[in-house]
Amino acid sequence: MSAAKDVTDATFADEVLASEKPIMVDFWAEWCGPCRAVSPILDKIAEENADKLSIVKIDVDNNPETAMKYGITSIPAMKVFKNGEVVKTVIGAKPKPALEADLAEFLA
């Protein structure tokens, strides 16, 4: 799986909601093929934009509380948080250029 740091129900508030930098959370699960497909792309985007956007991942199986709170019904789901609020949602595995276009405002 992706090299992104894991967050959990327990650490979500500290790691994500309190983050000073925009932070994208990748909601994923072990059994989700498209999640596996998109994770190396997220790693690459994280690496190339380390100063602008943090990327972390959360396993929806082990952290159902957060998944439910944010109404996840389809994965991979990627949500960008700014000052504790969801400011962008991207759903589904997409090629790198398409994801970068979706996230353009955070990568500029």
Binding site: G33, P34, S74, I75, G92, K96
Partner: protein, 331 residues
């Protein structure tokens, strides 16, 4: 330059790669960035692929095919084709990262893409209750009522899979009988959680920020009704992915790539097609694999028929030993 590039990494693409790699053609497989492995990556148990009497998970089967292709020297790149130039003796493939790859022969095996219902609210609510992948999203509908639209094998497979999580699965089909195989039908019909809604077409997806239900229209008497739901899984078939070759390869009336007879030869010399992109009828993993074999053998034959020296000049490779011997003998 290479001898062969294969576009696609489903059973057709990987099987072509296995054959071509064993024939020492060192193919490049363009596997796509997020859809590598093709349709089977989104399935669970595959019970009808010969050689696996206990079944095999779709993604595992694809990883095995990939490993088998790599073992014999196929090179795999996880990127998407943005442009194809198929006319002329050299085929040119441009990828998402801007790189351009050239070859003397090309196998096109891009499969097909899910068909949508074509309703406005379907796009708006996609990811918020509308899904095309039961194995990805089914688990979010524990103890909920969901529906599957469609009447083929994939619709019944999704419906059966969803019963693991959902309390109730309605199968919505616009006819009064199913296209699905007898085995799939029997399993679904014997499942107490699956309810069949015959002669119904989904004409609206309802819900503000997530799916709350669907609007149905009876295909026989036109009666309209509504059904409360938490999730809608669309499985109404797929269309061949041909957008990259429009205007370059002939298509059939059904929208598949035209091939000559039982071969994989397209209307363009040196370009071969295999798998669901040529198949309007069978669309099985094993028929796609067989079709990939045909394409690899056709490509191999085509390359062997090129004038002496063309391959060596193009690839910078030395002529194979036996060919060098012949050249030596005739000199």
């Amino acid at each position: 330059m290479r001898q062969l590039i294969i576009i696609g990494s489903g059973p057709a693409g990987y099987t072509a790669a296995i054959y071509a790699a064993r024939a020492n053609l060192k193919p490049l497989v363009v596997a796509s960035s997020v859809e590598f492995g093709g349709e089977l990556m989104k399935t669970t148990e595959v019970e009808n692929f010969p050689g696996f009497p206990d079944g095999i998970m779709g993604p595992d089967l694809m990883m095995k095919m990939q490993a088998q292709a790599e073992k014999f020297g196929a090179e795999i790149v996880y990127d998407d084709v943005t442009k194809l130039e198929l006319d002329g003796d050299v085929k040119r493939v441009t990828l998402g990262d801007g790189s351009v790859h050239e070859s003397l022969a090309l196998i096109y095996a891009t499969g097909s893409a899910y068909r949508k219902l074509g309703l406005d609210d379907e796009t708006r609510l996609s990811g918020y209750g509308v899904s095309w992948c039961a194995t990805c999203d089914g688990a979010f509908f524990k103890q909920k009522h969901v529906a599957v639209v469609g009447g083929g094998d994939s619709a019944l497979e999704e419906a059966t899979f969803l019963t693991r999580f959902a309390d109730k699965v309605s199968l919505i089909h616009r006819r009064d009988s199913l296209r699905a195989s007898a085995a799939m039908q029997e399993r679904a019909k014997n499942d107490p959680k699956i309810e069949f809604l015959w002669n119904k077409e989904v004409t609206a997806v309802l819900g503000d920020d997530k799916v709350a239900g669907v609007g149905l229209t009876d295909t026989v008497d036109g009666t309209e009704s509504a059904l409360d739901l938490s999730g809608l899984f669309v499985a109404i078939g797929a269309d061949p992915r041909t957008h990259l070759v429009h205007g370059q390869l002939d298509l059939t009336a059904e929208g598949n790539i035209w091939v000559e007879g039982r071969s994989s030869k397209t209307s363009q010399k040196g370009v071969f097609a295999a798998g669901d992109v040529v198949d309007p009828t069978y669309k099985q993993a094993i028929t796609a694999a067989g079709s990939g074999t045909v394409a690899a053998l056709d490509a191999e034959h085509f390359l062997a028929s090129l004038p002496k020296g063309v391959i060596a000049e193009a690839t910078g490779a030395e002529a194979p030993a036996e060919m060098a011997d012949q050249i030596g003998a005739s000199a």
